[in-house]
């Protein structure tokens, strides 16, 4: 039986799951910072080290770094609540992490080929088409003193290959671990089905970068030290497809470090 009413959502409430992370590096105002690699609660996630990468799913076992989720015994899972507070203002994005990779040569300016496996059936419609699935470049070890432009070759949600897009926000010299650069879309595209290449316009000198395929599930605006809350109505009850790997990205208002705490709640049924 699927959840179709508010009473159904309330009846299916699962225990709240807390999270707490201390973002230690210097942030960049308005630039997203992934909490994936940070210790705390949940513990730190890790990255793959191959260009082709790995798909991520919590169906068999939860992935290190993800917020707590187990698939419902029957019916569907939905986000029912997200409460958060940060020590500085910003926006907290709750995302599903579908795939990530690694193994890039950080000093290479050539095209680095990727053959991504089929992404999990967790796009906006629960399919593998990729609608609503986006790419981000996540820094897992601080990079060197350069500000490359990143070009990604990908196949879009309609299956059209040879699409290209670059980072939405400019990179900067020496980005800290956790820096997250969203990749844009070629005009007309609404998602990514697979990834074929990454090209840096210049050597990034040193460090480690990873690509992530993700889908935004919810966003919660935060004022400094003032909690905010999404409930079943304000969160719009987004569906959490089986195998979802929820993780957090924080878009800060200032450059100072920030503690982020909160509670994540699902309803299932």
């Amino acid at each position: 039986m699927t959840i179709t009413t508010l009473d159904g959502a309330i009846a299916g409430m699962q225990p709240p799951r807390p999270f707490a992370k201390a973002i230690t590096p210097t942030l960049v105002a308005g630039k997203p910072q992934s909490l994936w690699g940070l210790g705390g609660n949940p513990g730190a996630g890790s990255w793959d080290t191959t260009l082709n990468g790995v798909v991520l799913s919590s169906t068999s076992a939860m992935v290190n770094g993800q917020l707590y989720h187990t698939n419902p015994g029957s019916g569907n899972a939905h986000l029912a609540g997200l409460t958060a507070m940060a020590t500085q203002a910003g926006m907290l994005l709750l995302c599903d992490r579908l795939w990530h990779n690694g193994g890039f040569t950080i000093t290479s300016t050539g095209s680095q080929s990727i053959t991504s496996p089929t992404f999990p059936a967790r796009d906006i419609a629960g399919s593998t088409n990729g609608d609503g699935v986006y790419l981000g470049l996540e820094v897992s070890a601080a990079c060197g003193a350069a500000a490359p432009t990143i070009t990604i070759g990908y196949t879009n949600q309609a299956g059209t290959a040879s699409r290209t897009a670059t980072n939405s926000f400019a990179t900067a010299n020496s980005p800290a671990a956790g820096s997250f650069f969203p990749i844009g879309q070629q005009a007309g595209d609404t998602g990514v089905r697979s990834v074929q290449s990454l090209t840096l316009s210049v050597s990034w000198v040193s460090g480690t970068i990873n690509l992530v395929a993700y889908r935004v599930l919810a966003a919660i605006p935060l004022l400094a030290l003032i909690p905010n809350d999404l409930d079943p109505l304000t969160s719009r009850l987004p569906r959490l497809y089986d195998g979802v790997v929820p993780f957090l990205i924080f878009v800060p208002n200032t450059t100072t470090a920030s503690n982020i705490t909160g509670v994540y709640t699902e309803t299932q049924g």
């Binding site: 300016t109 003193a145 500000a147 432009t149 290209t164 897009a165 400019a170 316009s201 210049v202």
Partner: protein
Amino acid sequence: MIGIGSTVRVLEPFSESFPGEYTVVAHNDAAGGWTLDLDGVLSDFDETYLEEVAG
């Protein structure tokens, strides 16, 4: 020969996103590339991705 002050075009695969002509504003010695002013945003490019526009 490209240098600070040169006007350049960006070549594929970056030309899709940056189809215009841009000014070289600095050399990034650490990365071995040129810093372009992309309409107010600075980004570094290896010389292989740049084509100088004849003055």
